[in-house]
């Protein structure tokens, strides 16, 4: 009995090991010379029309490039799982990430330099330098933009009317915002100005508010190494503004510890008068949360002493572990899927038609990723399908031409935001918070972070 069973067990074990090894092998390159790339950004299965368009594009792309096979992934970017997937060899070839990520991805060497492939693209030279500066380091190019935005004021037109304010003339300075917020909360009982402060959003907002007051979060020292620069009037004023609005005016509402998603829900439910975010990016989320398009207003980023706003984007990058052929194929795909619709009017029209059929917003005014002329050309091409109340974005759009776009901190942005969150939270939850002491503490902490990040 034993002698008969033993070979069977042995064979089974050998089979299991072989099967396991076969399962471990990554389909990086097939035998017939076809390069396989995994790309993020495939629409979710529920978004039928957009998914169909994506699949159609994949088929067309593969027909034009018979040596490339594209495998779509509808898993969104998640910093928490990315590193593990990278280590395990299952990270996608092409990453689609918010502009907060590139600095740390570049620092950690987790993304590839695509300068050779990108600079060969026809549309490369027309890319907006204001965005590309975040993706270029010296001669290296680490990514291409898919879409971009700048901070602005998002407001509820309905609450403005209820409070006796003109919905076509949103406030443009921080002093005005404070007045408007108080008027909204006094007359409607809703939150006049909404604020978020967890999951790094407090630090992110404080950075944007500091820029609008002419300040900086970090700046290069005499030796070129970055040091903290926010223990200064602009950041202090931003914190004082919060303190006054929260504790003197009582116009920030009771819940100041949320994150972006919480605020979108509260805003879509009509409980928040104004808040700061990226108006074009937020619009789609606002609709998904059940918001009424008629109440959506987008104004300029409030200012005090500067004409500047924090800029961001969704960008495409290539996994550092990708081989030469994969990198080349990924850049080709980026051009095909992300750049062309903003560059080629025919493709833009095709996109717009499908999106409009699926009830997705078409024509949301955005910060152009190419030149102004190119942007206009595309807007003309999609005009027939525009289904967004574009005029409600007018105050925001008008501001885009006049403001400087300031990038997020180029070193350790997430760590810096994490270090600033508690400062914002302290001011918003403790009426006796000592702003001077908080700033001094945070600056010391951020300097430690910067020292460690810069080696």
């Amino acid at each position: 009995m034993r002698t008969r069973i033993r070979p069977i067990i042995g064979a089974a074990a050998a089979l299991a090991i072989a099967a396991g090894l076969a399962g471990c092998a990554t389909p990086a390159a097939e035998d017939d010379g076809v390069v396989v790339i995994t790309v993020m950004g495939m629409p979710a299965a529920t978004n039928t029309a957009a998914l169909e368009l994506f699949q159609q594009q994949v088929a067309e792309f593969e027909k034009a490039n018979p040596d490339i096979r594209v495998v779509g992934s509808d898993v969104p970017w998640d910093a928490k799982t990315f590193a593990a997937r990278l280590a395990g060899g299952s990270a996608p070839t092409l990453l689609r990430v918010p502009l907060t990520e590139p600095p740390s991805l570049i620092e950690r060497g987790q993304v590839a330099d695509i300068a050779d492939e990108a600079s060969a693209l026809e549309s490369f030279d027309e890319l907006n330098p204001r965005i590309m500066e975040f993706l270029e380091r010296d001669d290296a190019v680490y990514g291409l933009p898919e879409k971009s935005y700048a901070f602005g004021l998002v407001y509820n037109r309905d609450l403005f009317e209820q409070a006796g304010l003109d919905p076509d003339a949103p406030p443009t300075t921080w002093d005005e915002v404070r007045e408007y917020a108080k008027q909204i909360s006094d007359t409607t009982g809703k939150t006049g100005f909404g604020e978020i402060s967890t999951n790094n959003s407090g630090g992110w907002h404080l950075t944007g508010y500091t820029y609008s007051r002419g300040g900086a979060i970090i700046e290069p020292g005499s030796d070129g190494r970055y040091v903290a620069a926010f223990d200064d009037a602009p950041t202090r004023d931003a914190l004082e503004w919060w303190k006054e609005a929260r504790w003197t005016d009582d116009s920030l509402g009771d819940d100041v510890l949320g994150k972006q998603e919480d605020m979108v829900a509260a805003f879509a439910a009509g409980n928040v008068g104004m808040w700061v975010s990226a108006p074009p990016d937020l619009y789609a989320q606002f609709l998904v949360a059940g918001g009424d398009p008629d109440i959506y207003g987008a104004g300029a980023m409030p200012q005090d002493g500067a004409d500047a706003t924090l800029a961001g984007a969704t960008v495409l990058m290539v996994n550092a572990k990708a081989g030469d052929a994969e990198r080349e194929a990924a850049v080709k795909w980026m051009e095909y899927r992300a750049l062309r619709p903003n560059y080629d009017p025919e493709v833009a029209a095709q996109y717009a038609e499908v999106s409009a059929e699926d009830g997705l917003p078409v024509g949301v005014p955005a910060l152009p990723i190419f030149t102004e002329e190119r942007y206009q050309m595309i807007q003309d091409a999609i005009a027939e399908w525009v289904n967004v109340p574009v005029e409600q974005f007018d105050p925001y759009v008008a501001s885009l031409d006049t403001f400087d776009y300031v990038p997020e901190p180029l070193v350790a942005s997430q760590e810096i935001y994490a270090a600033l969150d508690p400062v914002v939270q302290a001011v918003l939850t403790d009426p006796d918070a000592d702003i001077e002491a908080l700033l001094a503490d945070a600056e010391a902490r951020v300097n430690t972070i910067l020292e460690q990040a810069q080696g």
């Binding site: 987790q110 009771d254 100041v256 510890l257 572990k321 350790a412 400062v423 939270q425 939850t429 918070a433």
Partner: protein, 323 residues
């Protein structure tokens, strides 16, 4: 009555500690040496799958993480040895003392609230003549709810202002409204309430099972002696449950020192670092900042601390739990 009928499967083993071999039941020399060797080889063969599983999925990663604590890696290029630098960086972080104190504060609060409450409820439930099953189901129900769901629910209940569920309820008796999670002072107690609510069910069931094992003769004897209900609980129930209480206390300390879900989901460590815990720091270092070396260094320190706490605790309580 000197020997307690409720006995632990004690002593509880620490990771890595070899089990104490029980004294042989049969006199030595009854079996031939060859037979014994064959028997132990057979035993090993039976153990092999379990050893491989534990080795591959638990001991090997644990060993690797100790190694990683002395390395710096971006998970792309080979890891680089950095000696004690991860630990130096960790100790230079001013948030570390805050996180340690917060974690201890959470542990103390959760013992103050979370230890007596389930015991009290279990004793009450064991006194029920009717509806005991229903009470057990109700007590255990919170445990069945996925932790993140219950924590998110409580986040809604703790909404500040008069409209929050908890504030509205307290408002009926003229209390509040309290800022709960929005206040640096109240945030931590709020988290402890949630943790107790979601964890008490298991403890209640364990106490109930132990209570069922207490001999009714003891109660009868106490009753004959004229002991009141409280005296019966104090002099019969509690001493009989001593072993279980001590084990649950240890489990609760270990669980509380590793608190993560509640602060992560409800407050993200806020407001103003009032609820940053050690595990939340580990999480941030690893997954937010991509600094796996420092994250692992802190994990190793936490593991060492837990082993020490457990060992000291077991040594201190060895005599109490068995006498």
């Amino acid at each position: 009555m000197t020997s307690a009928p409720v006995r632990l499967p004690a002593p509880v083993l620490q990771a890595g500690e070899a089990p104490v071999t029980p004294a042989p039941a049969t006199p030595r020399g009854r079996r031939a040496p060859g037979m014994r060797r064959r028997a132990s080889i057979a035993g090993l063969v039976f153990l092999l799958p379990a050893l491989l599983c534990f080795g591959w999925f638990a001991w090997w990663p644990i060993g690797q993480s100790v190694v990683l604590a002395f390395q710096q890696t971006n998970l792309v290029e080979p890891a680089e040895w950095v000696g004690w630098r991860n630990f130096e960086q960790l100790f230079a972080d001013p948030l570390l003392p805050t996180a340690v104190l917060n974690t201890l504060w959470f542990t103390v609060l959760s013992l103050l609230i979370g230890l007596p409450l389930p015991l009290f409820v279990a004793v009450l439930m064991s006194e029920l003549r009717r509806g005991g099953t229903l009470a057990r189901v109700l007590a255990y129900l919170p445990v069945v709810i996925p932790p993140v769901v219950s924590v998110l629910l409580w986040k809604v209940f703790f909404a500040p202002g008069e409209n929050g569920v908890v504030n509205a309820a307290l408002g009926l008796v003229g209390l509040g409204p309290f800022p709960w999670l929005q206040s640096p002072e109240l945030a931590m107690p709020s988290l402890v309430i949630v943790a107790t609510w979601s964890g008490a069910g298991t403890a209640i069931l364990i106490y109930l099972a132990a209570l069922a094992g207490v001999s009714t003769e003891l109660y009868e004897a106490a009753e004959l002696d004229g002991a009141s209900v409280w005296r019966r609980i104090w002099h019969v129930t509690l001493p009989q449950l001593r072993g279980v209480i001590l084990v649950l206390l240890l489990l609760q300390v270990i669980g509380a020192l590793q608190v993560f879900t509640e602060p992560y989901v409800m407050t993200d460590g806020g407001p103003a670092n009032a609820t940053v815990t050690v595990l939340l720091m580990i999480y941030r270092y690893a997954f937010l900042f991509g600094n796996y070396g420092v994250a692992t260094a802190l994990s190793v320190l936490l593991a060492i601390a837990l082993v020490i706490v457990s060992a000291v605790y077991l040594r201190l309580t060895r005599s109490w739990s068995t006498s």
